[in-house]
């Protein structure tokens, strides 16, 4: 067990996988000399050389398209988008090409490509650099969508993403990069589609993604002191979705909150809430609640930005509203 930052955990996952498989190459803006905008590829240029760690121009459509071609020809590209917002620049390559090729070729070729992209608000990055794209991309069949919580989870899930033969969108939370976490000395790949019950409880279930897993745990600890027992589930992957774990939990608690930082409308909460309605209707003791970013662009001003970011306090209040 050691204490490292979330960014270091990402870096370690990339390093350990690149060492294991020489077909793995990294593409992205500022990833080689600088070591990544968020310091997630520090030292990799020196270790693996500029043929495997490639800086790209500011041309997301171009280098994501290049990654698709590399993947089709046998390499395993791991592409860094500096902000998940830039997925929209590369949307055709991601959604129309990478996600469709295996299907349209009748399974003749795979696209074993990982796109790493930071999500989340809280850095005054304003409306075009603060979005959380995980809900939107989950719409499109053919993509795996990963939303890791802690550094340990990020490391294990990134390994799985790199080893998967499908295009994977791997969303790192930019507010976690510099935080320190306890991480096992050896982290094994964590299987996709298996949600993790990180805290057991009996009064209400919170299923959360990314940073909101930690915020939900913090809220749960506060609520425990007030006699409210909260079960927290780390969803890990939105696609594939482990609805069974959520259903089992809701059967026990009767109440569910879905916490995800993407905008509320048509989000992860809408999907999970609906599936729970179908699969656990007679176990629901209250309407499913959601904690999300409201349906407005993210402001630049911290005074405006912070109140709309899903917080420990908002999770706490939502639980109190539903349980008391």
């Amino acid at each position: 067990m050691k204490e490292i930052t979330y960014a270091q955990a990402i870096c370690e996952a990339l390093d350990e996988e690149m060492e294991r498989d020489e077909n793995i190459v990294l593409l992205g803006e500022d990833i080689s000399f600088i070591g990544g905008n968020f310091k997630t590829s520090v030292g990799l240029l020196e270790k693996y050389g500029d043929m495997r760690v490639k800086d790209t121009p500011i041309s997301e459509a171009g280098f994501v398209g290049m990654g698709v071609g590399m993947a089709l020809t046998g390499l395993r590209p791991v592409i860094e988008l500096m902000f998940s917002d830039f997925l929209l620049v590369a949307a055709d390559q991601v959604i129309n090409q990478a996600a469709k090729i295996r299907y349209m070729s009748g399974g003749q070729v795979n696209v074993p490509m990982v796109i790493r992209a930071p999500i989340g608000a809280g850095r005054s990055s304003a409306a075009q650099h603060s979005q959380s794209m995980q809900a939107m991309v989950s719409q499109f069949p053919g993509l795996i969508v990963v939303v890791p919580s802690t550094a340990q989870e990020a490391k294990g899930l990134l390994k799985t993403a790199i080893r998967d033969n499908n295009p994977v969108l791997f969303f790192e939370h930019k507010m976690e990069y510099n935080k320190k976490f306890l991480v096992d000395d050896v982290v094994e790949p964590i299987p996709f589609g298996k949600a993790n019950v990180v805290r057991e409880g009996k009064d209400i279930t919170i299923v959360a993604t990314s940073s909101l897993v930690m915020k939900s745990q913090e809220a749960a600890e506060k609520l425990e002191k007030e006699g409210i027992s909260v079960e927290v589930i780390d969803l890990r992957t939105i696609v594939p979705l482990d609805i069974d774990t959520v259903v089992e939990s809701v059967k026990k608690t009767g109440k569910l909150i879905v916490a995800d930082e993407a905008h509320e409308r048509c989000g992860v909460g809408a999907e999970i809430g609906f599936q729970i309605m179908e699969k656990a209707f007679y176990y629901l003791d209250a309407p499913v609640g959601r904690v999300n970013t409201p349906n407005v662009p993210l402001p630049f001003s911290p005074a405006l930005e912070f109140p709309i970011i899903p917080s420990v306090d908002r999770i706490y209040k939502k639980v109190v509203e539903m349980v008391k």
Binding site: G254, F281, Y282, Y283, L284, D285, A286, P287
Partner: protein, 464 residues
């Protein structure tokens, strides 16, 4: 000719009226001058007559409902006349949506706020349907609880019944232990099994217990305990704190809490007054009561000390030339105070005539608001009940009230003709003046009560 009937404003201070009775139902023909409905104002019931001929087409409130004055309560119109616009207007005034169908008037059944939410919501969804979460329904079904008949108060989403409510209900509902045969027998005989005392193991109700209960229904009834309070007191009767009871309660508590009361008691020797009264009653037809003399004494005192015949109105102390004397009467519906208006120049006999007329009306509940409002001072006489002494709460907005107790023979020290003190037996009566200390100081009150005593002890002064 369609006419909107409104809740009438029958007194200056009347803000809302309670509809006591509809003399007509929807569809009935009505003639001008016929009684249409009866209203409880702040102290009495008044019949209101129809003001035009027609048919009662629509009633907006039920008997027992309270409504602010001037709001619509009914429509009288021609038999076929289109009153849609009038109905819409009335609902708008009432602040309600015109219902597509008649809503079940169920909102008044429950008092608990949450229960009311459930009831209202239930009314929206049609009769017999309870709001309950899917989980609560499943749990109730598993536990054999019928949500439709069980009296469960919902605390969940929008006041619906949630799992916790069902579990609490199940935990609080008394469990009757009975054999299946006993249950079946009790059910088919229509006997409440919870009222049958069990003689089996741990009080289990057996077949023979049910048979015993059936054989002697009185015995079974005897074992039935009435409704209990939470701490185990058996309840005889529950009466709503409403109507006249509530008005009395609210007015008197507001008086007691806002006006600092001070009390001044005097002992009055009634010997001469009783003698005088005897002579008066023998010399003319109208039988006067002791109260009439006390009333006259009070009136004279108030004229001498007009500072007591006053009201605190906002930032002003109004002192009155008029003496409107209220006399507290125990009416069947509760305490009421009819007022003898402009009594300042009345003789004892005139006071007696006015008072007995008002008291009779009060006892029959027929006082008009004008006859029980506008007082400037009140007398409350409980002498006929043998009370030795009591204090009274000021009837707002007045500033004083005189509590009159019973006259009783007592040994008192008197001075005889020789100037010696001796003990004699005299009819003595306590009077206690309560005054609002915001307006009246103690010295003034003491002078006033002494004056009343002096007048009653030299009653000839009442006729000067």
């Amino acid at each position: 000719m369609a006419e909107l009937i409104i809740m009438p404003k029958l007194g200056f201070n009347m803000n809302e009226g309670k509809l006591v009775k509809w003399y007509k139902s929807e569809g009935d023909a009505v003639k001008k001058g016929e009684p249409l409905f009866s209203v409880e104002t702040d102290k009495t019931n008044i019949d209101i007559e129809a003001t035009c001929d027609g048919y009662v087409r629509k009633l907006f409130i039920d008997e027992g409902d309270k409504l602010a004055v001037t709001l619509p309560i009914a429509i009288v119109a021609g038999k076929e006349e289109n009153i849609d616009a009038l109905i819409a207007d009335a609902y708008a005034q009432l602040g309600k949506e015109a219902p597509a169908e008649e809503p079940a008037a169920v909102a008044k059944e429950s008092t608990a706020e949450k229960a009311a939410v459930v009831t209202v919501a239930t009314a929206e969804k049609g009769p017999g349907r309870h709001i309950a979460t899917p989980r609560a329904r499943r749990v109730a079904e598993e536990m054999g609880i019928d949500l439709a008949s069980a009296d469960i108060v919902g605390t969940g989403f929008e006041g619906g019944i949630c799992e916790k409510d069902v579990l609490q209900y199940a935990a609080s509902a008394p469990k009757v232990r009975a054999t299946p045969l006993a249950k079946k027998m009790a059910e088919s005989a229509g006997v409440d099994i919870s009222s049958v005392a069990g003689t089996g193991v741990a009080g289990k109700v057996m077949k023979k217990d049910v048979e015993g209960a059936l054989a002697s229904p009185e015995a079974a009834a005897g074992t039935t305990v009435g409704e209990l309070t939470q701490d185990g007191k058996e309840i005889l009767e529950k009466v709503p704190y409403a109507g006249v009871r509530r008005i009395i309660g609210e007015r008197l508590s507001s008086s007691m809490f806002s006006a600092p009361h001070v009390f001044f008691t005097q002992k009055v020797n009634l010997e001469k007054l009783l003698e005088l009264r005897k002579q008066v009653n023998e010399s003319q037809d109208k039988k006067t009561s002791v109260t009439d003399y006390i009333a006259k004494a009070v009136i004279l005192t108030l004229q001498k000390y007009p500072d007591i015949n006053a009201s605190l109105v906002g930032d002003t102390i109004e002192k009155y030339k008029s003496v409107n004397l209220g006399i507290a009467v125990a009416a069947p519906s509760g305490l009421i105070v009819p007022v003898i208006k402009n009594s300042q120049n009345m003789s004892v006999v005139e006071i007696s005539e006015a008072a007995s007329d008002l008291i009779e009306k009060a006892r029959e509940g027929k006082l008009t608001p004008d006859e029980y409002s506008g007082g400037t001072f009140t007398i409350s006489n409980l002498g006929m009940f043998g009370i030795y002494q009591f204090t009274a709460i000021i009837n707002p907005p007045e500033s004083g009230i005189l509590a009159v107790s019973a006259a009783k023979d007592e040994p008192v020290v008197v001075t005889n003709e020789k100037g010696e003190k001796e003990i004699a037996i005299k009819p003595m009566m306590n009077i206690t003046l309560s005054v609002d200390h915001r307006v009246i100081d103690g010295l003034l009150a003491a002078q006033a009560v002494a004056e009343i005593k002096a007048l009653l002890e030299q009653p000839v002064r009442l006729f000067l």
